[in-house]
Subunit: 321 residues, 2 copies
Amino acid sequence: MSKIKVLLLGATGETGASVLEGLAADDAFHVSIAVRHSSTDKPAVRALVARGFPVIEVDLNTKLDPSPLTPFNTVISCIGPEAQQSQLNLATAAKAAGVKRFVPCAFITICPPGGVMQLRDAKEEVYNHIFRLHLPYTIIDTGFWHQISFPPLPSGRLDDIHFMGENNLYGDGSAPNLLTDLRDIGRFVARIIKDPRTLNKKVFTWSDELSQNEIYAVAENLSGETIDKNPVSLAEMESIVAKAKQDLDADPTNIMAKMALWTQEYNLSKCFRRDNTRKNALYLGYLDARDLYPDFQPVSFVDYFKEILQGNGKKPYAGRW
Amino acid sequence: MSKIKVLLLGATGETGASVLEGLAADDAFHVSIAVRHSSTDKPAVRALVARGFPVIEVDLNTKLDPSPLTPFNTVISCIGPEAQQSQLNLATAAKAAGVKRFVPCAFITICPPGGVMQLRDAKEEVYNHIFRLHLPYTIIDTGFWHQISFPPLPSGRLDDIHFMGENNLYGDGSAPNLLTDLRDIGRFVARIIKDPRTLNKKVFTWSDELSQNEIYAVAENLSGETIDKNPVSLAEMESIVAKAKQDLDADPTNIMAKMALWTQEYNLSKCFRRDNTRKNALYLGYLDARDLYPDFQPVSFVDYFKEILQGNGKKPYAGRW
């Protein structure tokens, strides 16, 4: 059987790198990477070229010539959170090129549209554009990553790979959350995009559904350390979000305010609204990737935490934020 | 088995009346009607009271007391197109009351959200509110009614029951359109709302999928009359829609501009964008009621047209627009 030709945008990002490795490890696919003109000389791109991945240069800021997309069965976008709207031109070109499956940049927590998370709503605008085009699609959400879900330890031994934040405890800490190991995303995507059952569907991936209380218990039990938690109330969260919105309204280029808003809206949605759960995903019409692929063995949060305690962790977004 | 307690809002409207009759004809249901305070003395409401339907008075403009909704398993809204947002309070109260299935006022053509039809987007805001509440729901769309899809005849013999408009032919007249007889909506709803497969799903009903060309052919063949068609181009449609938007921006209370906008956006979506098709409904994630209920015998457009040629038609919206 001939290979499925896939074009991947954002292959040097965290999610994109996972997707690239997942597809590259699967003989079913032939993967090319889409790179913006301004990025072709970046070391991360040159490293992928050196590994033999063909490169398609794209300019997402203008109407795209669809012809470079014509050879591709599937286009996957793992574009950065700040550039969601540049997928509009990409989707239009993909439709004109006859692409059979467009995978927009979803890859976040489960959350309804319409005012809960600005980042979600930016993605929903892209989805609506896809729907208006009648463009075949698959939306893949992944919950929160193990890699940014573990707490730092008092001993400091995880500080090198810990992404950010203190040991906050949101509300009573009991909200369950879908988690996926960042490295599993690509392996899930490889299954999902060759599956006719997932065409024109939303799919979610997960290894565990854990509350903060359960995560802290895992961390304390496996490390032998006792973690002081900093309780954060709903009122505090809402006031932080309101402040970030205010700052962003005053200066839409204020990247720190945008980061604060996105981060805290994640926390509000996950930890207080309880949006990022299996039950809610099914309610919102998602297919469960674990139901679709019962033989898939995801890396559990416990196994991930054991790994990093042994010194085998890697800090996400290193050098990029 | 005890009956399913249903509360129906908008029972005196066209869709609501169909739903009421469909449920009343089915022993599975016990139907009550929700009526706004200001409407309790209307003759149409008094007629329903006389038939024995219990009445619940509601004030949709303020936060609702959920307790009157507590006895109901299912709440169905068939509210008028201009009052979609008043469902927000109703949905919030339904959630608080523990309602097991909320059927918002959908009941229109298949169309993606996000700028194609203002009426659709008003409904989508209600759906997003439902999703944010995690309120169990079923969204039921019905395509276009037979009752407003047939052309008037040159002889004038259908003028008494023809709703509005000339014999326009949009584009090349070949866009297929899902159609449902208005009277079948209630019968479909009775099936749909007692079916666990439709919980938290979108469902569409239809009897036929016909183009304007096919509808004109049916009308000419069955009537023996030749119909002059007035061709309308995409450019003309877009200019009419743009004008209506302008008028509405200038005066949001301009009901004629709003009606023009809604009507012409229907036409743009149905006849040019080809949104109101079975293929698009499945693409957008709807379940097909005909697949769910293969024994259901809907009234076909041909049978409906034969009926009205025999003088058995009824003008929709009579006395209300």
